[in-house]
């Protein structure tokens, strides 16, 4: 029945499955949508979308697929046919005004121009002489002086509103490649969990106790086990200063979320690319430096490494000895990066630059290759993927 709608949804990356599609058909047959497009929209949404992040995509696809249908219904039942409007118009206009309309090419041209301008114009407009808006001299808009002005946005459509629910796209901000807050980050970070029982035995082990008691001829024999804890260990390397300034907020959020989520978290700062030393306190970055070798020797290979940086720099800073903008580096950044990845095979790079801009900066591409393609954008979706990559 709605196969093309369903397929378009899937093409738009809304993960709707066949089962959900069948549910929708079943529900439609049960009469839940009851001949109302609005209700059908609600029903389809409840049946096919299971994540509020996809609601916006769904709205767009729905608008795209059902635009025609809605229009048909509109002309069938709701709106006044154009012919009537025209008649009414001819009645109310004076002969001089009609002549003016003719001068502009007549009714049909006027309507055609209106349609074109509506398509061109995207913002609200006031004054001026071309765009559709209020109080101007353009023929289109309200409160204008042009005698053949066409009123727009004065009356409401069927059911008291001109904009359809799905056209409002109210769930726009829930799409998952925008805005991330600490709480959301924490949830994303939780994907990286490694539970293990370590330390002192403090919990009663029920199955163990029962087994031991049975062995003991029915007399109680208590068994204890250590508590389950998240034992994942993380090293966080943060790029600071320079081009990272615009991303400070999102990095702060990530940092505070990571601090509360991981018990074993060590963090270090670097600038642009990793070289022979890092630091932990930005105010004393020149005084207190930690050799990168020391980091690699201190922490075991079971640590997972997360680099956070925009990776935007001159390619020389990566491949050339002495390429660093801050000091003379004996060995190129790429050497240090490779050493790091060799010591800690589970590493990812989080990049706050929007993914669609990555192609324009050669250094991003280079670092991406260095980390074996494990570069993800610093958005919720990217973070999710990164954590999945780390927990593999």
């Amino acid at each position: 029945m709605f196969v093309s709608f369903f397929l378009t949804l899937r093409r738009a990356n809304v993960p709707a499955s066949l089962r959900e599609y069948l549910t929708l058909i079943e529900a439609t047959e049960a009469g839940i949508a009851e001949f109302s497009v609005d209700r059908f929209y609600y029903l389809a949404r409840a049946a096919l979308v299971k994540d509020e992040r996809n609601l916006d995509k769904f709205d767009q696809v729905f608008a795209h697929c059902f635009k025609g249908i809605e229009a048909t219904i509109e002309t069938l039942f709701g709106e006044v046919p154009t012919e009537w409007l025209k008649k009414l118009w001819e009645k109310t206009l004076t002969p001089e005004e009609k002549a003016l309309v003719e001068a502009l090419g007549g009714w049909d041209t006027l309507m055609e121009t209106l349609r074109q301008r509506l398509a061109e114009q995207t913002k609200r407009h006031q004054g001026g002489s071309k765009w559709i808006g209020t109080a101007g001299t353009s023929p289109f808009g309200a409160y204008g002086y042009n005698p053949e002005g066409v009123r727009i946005g004065q009356d409401e459509g069927r059911e008291g509103r001109a904009v359809k629910v799905w056209d409002k796209r109210e769930f726009r901000n829930l799409d998952d490649d925008v805005e991330i807050g600490t709480r959301n980050i924490k949830i994303a970070l939780r994907r990286l969990r490694r539970f293990a029982r370590q330390g002192a035995a403090t919990e009663l082990d029920m199955p163990g106790t029962i087994r031991a008691t049975a062995h003991n001829g029915g007399y109680l024999d208590l068994k204890l086990v250590p508590e389950r804890r998240n034992t994942v260990k993380v090293l966080l390397f943060l790029d600071v200063g320079g081009s990272m300034a615009p991303h400070v907020r999102v990095c702060e959020e990530l940092f505070s979320a990571a601090r509360s989520e991981f018990k074993h978290l060590e963090y270090f700062y670097f600038h642009n690319c990793l070289y022979e030393s890092v630091w932990r306190d930005n105010r004393r970055r020149h005084a207190e430096r930690i050799p990168t070798w020391q980091v690699m020797h201190t922490y075991g290979a079971d640590y997972r490494v997360v680099f956070v940086g925009d990776a935007s720099m001159s390619p020389y800073e990566i491949v050339q000895e002495g390429g660093s903008v801050e000091h003379w580096n004996e060995e190129a950044g790429i050497v240090w990066m490779q050493r790091m990845l060799h010591t800690f095979p589970k590493s990812v790079w989080l990049n706050p630059t929007p993914e669609r801009h990555w192609g324009y900066t050669p250094s991003i591409d280079m670092l991406r290759q260095i980390v074996g393609g494990q570069m993800f954008s610093l958005t919720l979706a990217g973070l999710d993927q990164a954590m999945q990559a780390l927990s593999r």
Partner: protein, 283 residues
């Protein structure tokens, strides 16, 4: 059986469609939304509207799927065996029925609320797949199958702390409760405070939406906070003028403690008030 909202719960049309779809097709309904938008209350209201008994299962971080089905109290049986109690011979005495069992064997069609399903372990929803799909489960200890004669209406709420597995989602209808717009909010207030002064509501709502717009709030006040605040305003007999006064000194709304729950949010509001005051003096 159709759900059209009740006189104490304002529903939007999309929520009604979702509830009715779940009721008609006997599938679980998954509800998400900002905290305080009435997710949990929905189940109680659906039960009330349909005249069905309500069975609530509140999920915690330690809850296991098995708890909803039944529990075998091995320790009690062990104790009884050591004391030589006669009850020990029948294992049935030590099977404690869970909420799902209760719902499956209810006399009339009940509404089962599984509250905050995301609090439990990641595997929790997966462990309930078969049970919610077929509405039956097997009791190993007594070797019997419990199946629902009448499929209960299942309403599940989630606060989005964990992602739910796809297989679980496929079996549910889904509804996201959006934060109510001003008109809906007015209706909600009218339902909860019949006979409240119109001027007060208008002033309070204006202020409420203004507070929600304040940038950088950690926890935006929601419907339930608004209702609490209104209750306080009415109880303290605060005049509407007090809410409307844009006096820079009283820029913190009266009784703001009901709206803002965190120290940082109050500070944020105070700071903005300070900036506003400075701007005004500058002019």
């Amino acid at each position: 059986m159709r759900f059209n909202g009740t006189d104490t719960y304002v529903t939007t049309e999309d929520l009604m469609v979702a509830v009715n779809a779940a009721v008609t097709l006997e599938r679980p309904l998954l509800i998400k939304g900002e905290p305080g938008t009435g997710k949990t209350v929905l189940a109680a209201e659906v039960a009330k509207a349909l005249g069905a008994p309500l069975i609530e299962w509140h999920v915690k971080s330690t809850t296991k799927a098995q708890h909803g089905l039944y529990e075998y109290d091995a320790v009690a049986r062990l104790r009884d065996s050591q004391l030589g109690d006669a009850r020990v011979h029948d294992i049935r005495n030590y099977i404690i029925k869970g909420k799902l069992w209760e719902a499956f064997t209810a006399d009339s069609r009940p509404v089962l609320l599984i509250d905050e399903v995301d609090k439990a372990d990641i595997e929790f929803p997966n462990d309930l797949l078969q049970e919610l799909d077929r509405m039956e489960f097997y009791v190993h200890e007594t070797r019997e199958t419990v199946s629902a004669a009448i499929r209960p209406i299942v309403i599940i709420t989630s606060n989005n702390e964990k992602e739910l597995p796809d297989a679980f989602l496929r079996r549910c209808f889904f509804h996201y409760i959006r934060f109510p717009d001003e008109d809906t909010m007015r209706r909600i207030v009218a339902v909860h405070f019949p006979g409240i002064k119109d001027v007060l509501v208008r002033a309070a709502l204006n202020l409420f939406f203004e507070v929600r717009e304040v940038p950088g709030l950690k926890k935006k006040p929601s419907t339930s906070e608004l209702l609490d605040w209104l209750k306080l305003l009415v109880a303290e007999d605060i005049p509407p003028e007090a809410l409307r006064s844009r006096d820079v000194k009283t820029v913190l709304p009266p009784l703001y403690g009901a709206l803002l729950k965190s120290e940082q949010d109050v500070h944020q509001l105070e700071r903005l008030a300070f900036l506003a005051r400075r701007d005004q003096r500058g002019n």
